[in-house]
Amino acid sequence: MNKNKYKEIVNRNTPKEECFKNGIIAFLVGGTIGALGELLLRCYMMWLNLPRKESGILVTLTFVAIASILTALGIFDVLVTKVKAALFIPITGFAHSMTSAALEYKHEGLVLGIGTNIFKLAGTVILYGVVSVYVFGLIRLLTIGG
């Protein structure tokens, strides 16, 4: 069997990613998470008499807590395989990456397992966030001046 024929067969048999359907699902689920967050923000502002900024932080913390607990129970991984981007783009993905890394490497010990691997995936977010903020911040300080 020559290479071209092999390629043809592989192309025919690989399952087609349903881009359109995945996109719609991501949009709907992501949007629902956003709207739920807004509802929660209003509730916190009303019940706890907090200013908008603090309620925003509290909403983030709530979603982090929910995502961590769902990950530990093993539910989050099932959900991620179904809706993908809608769950790792909100802050839930950040919490999920930490908890799943901690659980996965637990058997290697407290320090060498959990300690060294907890930032395995979340580390990229922090690294590139901080580096880009330094670059952009310096540019803004030098041009506009703060």
Binding site: C19, N22, G23, I25, A26, F27, V29, G30, G31, I33, G34, A35, G37, E38, L40, L41, G56, I57, V59, T60, L61, F63, V64, A65, S68, I69, A72, L73, D77, A85, F88, I89, P90, I91, G93, F94, A95, M98, T99, A101, A102, L103, K106, I114, I118, T124, V125, I126, Y128, G129, V130, S132, V133, Y134, F136, G137, L138, I139, R140, L141
Partner: protein, 116 residues
């Protein structure tokens, strides 16, 4: 009205991420890093503040707001005490999320067994 904007904004960000995920070889790690940088970039000119104003939590929940909060804390502190504030204030607003995520994931990792 804020609910609709929150739905549209958060959904739109997730839609872009899903399109990138399906059509390129980028992994979720690449995409989240990219989105954090985009969020930080948008806030240099105060564009992301407008999104937060109109979409509320819809703009605070996607990972782009992580970059936005990082540069917001850094620039606020830099405004008060000069260029050194950039390093002092960078984690001011995001430390709550990071520390809670760390503490919770540590406790949960101790308590629960990994599922396979």
């Amino acid at each position: 009205m804020t609910y609709i904007y929150a739905f549209l904004f958060c959904g739109f960000v997730c839609l872009i991420a899903q399109i990138i995920l399906d059509n390129t070889k980028f992994t979720p790690g690449h995409i989240t890093s990219l989105f954090v940088v985009i969020g930080a970039f948008l806030d240099v000119f105060g564009i992301y503040d407008k999104f937060v104003l109109y979409a509320g939590a819809g703009a605070l929940l996607p990972i782009t707001s992580f970059g936005h909060l990082l540069i917001h804390g850094a620039m606020d502190m830099a405004h008060d005490i000069g260029p050194l504030g950039l390093s002092l204030g960078i984690f001011n607003l995001t430390s709550a999320g990071i520390s809670i995520a760390l503490v919770l994931s540590f406790i949960l990792a101790i308590v629960f067994k990994p599922k396979h």
